[in-house]
């Protein structure tokens, strides 16, 4: 049985490579039961989205002083 620690690692890796069949199903099964890891999954996707929007220096102009 994989732990949340393991699953979070696989969720992160799934952003960088296709998971193997076994990994994929281990993750899906775990996510059915674990809302914490489900949130983690959504949030790493958000990190990617945020990173794409992030533009250093230009954002500095928007910062409150």
């Amino acid at each position: 049985m994989k732990t949340c620690k393991d699953i979070s690692g696989l969720l992160s890796e799934s952003m960088d490579r296709p998971l193997k069949w076994r990994e994929h199903w281990a993750v899906r099964l775990h996510l059915l039961m674990c809302r914490h890891c489900s949130r983690f999954q959504q949030q790493v996707h958000f990190l990617r989205k945020a990173a794409k929007h992030y533009y250093p220096n230009e954002n500095d102009k928007n910062l409150p002083s």
């Binding site: 949340c4 620690k5 949030q43 990190l47 990173a51 533009y55 954002n59 928007n62």
Partner: protein, 190 residues
């Protein structure tokens, strides 16, 4: 390679340059020189990812030239992280218990897309990136901002494949944790 393609790569190159040079004008120059060099070199590349890797290779030389010319030493990335000495286990011990369960389980983020439109959020985002260890921040930046594949990141950082996988994961864990504490748990809208 035509000019349109070069333009597409320009954005990515500029991100890369800005994060290393910390100066918009200098970064613009470095990218400009890189693209000029690429145009002169002609069109021997077919796949987009090969072009990108090649362009970043040129850009790295331009950035190195800049450092040499300036005779200054910036530290690349320069995170203010206290756990720099031991980035390997410290983070995960804070996040997971001995049995691999979340200690501070991820909470629900209220309307995260809304954060992207707020200037203040980007200040926090930047702060959180700087608080990652240098290698974690660099791996994350190369992956998510520059858009390199994991293989290319390993080469760029000169580390093993398993190491850069770990860097990426820890960067995400750290960044997620930081954004949750500094933004989503404090700015929650009703």
């Amino acid at each position: 390679m035509d000019k349109n393609q070069l333009n597409d790569h320009r954005t990515v190159l500029l991100r890369y340059a800005l994060l290393q040079l910390h100066d918009e004008a200098v970064a613009e120059d470095a990218v400009q020189e890189t693209l000029l060099a690429a145009l002169q070199a002609g069109d021997s590349f077919r796949s987009e990812s090969a072009v990108r890797t090649w362009l970043i290779g040129i850009l790295k030389h331009k950035i190195a030239d800049h450092y040499r010319a300036a005779e200054r030493h910036y530290s690349l990335g320069e995170p203010a992280s206290e756990n720099k000495d031991d980035p390997n286990t410290a983070l995960e011990q804070l996040i997971f218990d001995g049995k691999g369960h979340w200690i501070g389980a991820p909470s629900a983020w209220n309307n995260p897309d809304h954060a992207l439109e707020q200037g203040e959020f980007w200040g926090i985002f930047e702060w959180c990136q700087k608080n990652l260890s240098e290698q974690h921040a660099r791996a994350f930046m190369l992956r998510e901002m520059v858009g390199l594949e994991t293989e290319e990141i390993c080469q760029d950082m000169n580390v093993s494949h398993s190491a850069c996988r770990v860097y990426l994961h820890r960067a995400r864990l750290g960044l997620r944790e930081c954004l949750e504490q500094r933004w989503f748990n404090t700015k929650r809208k009703s």
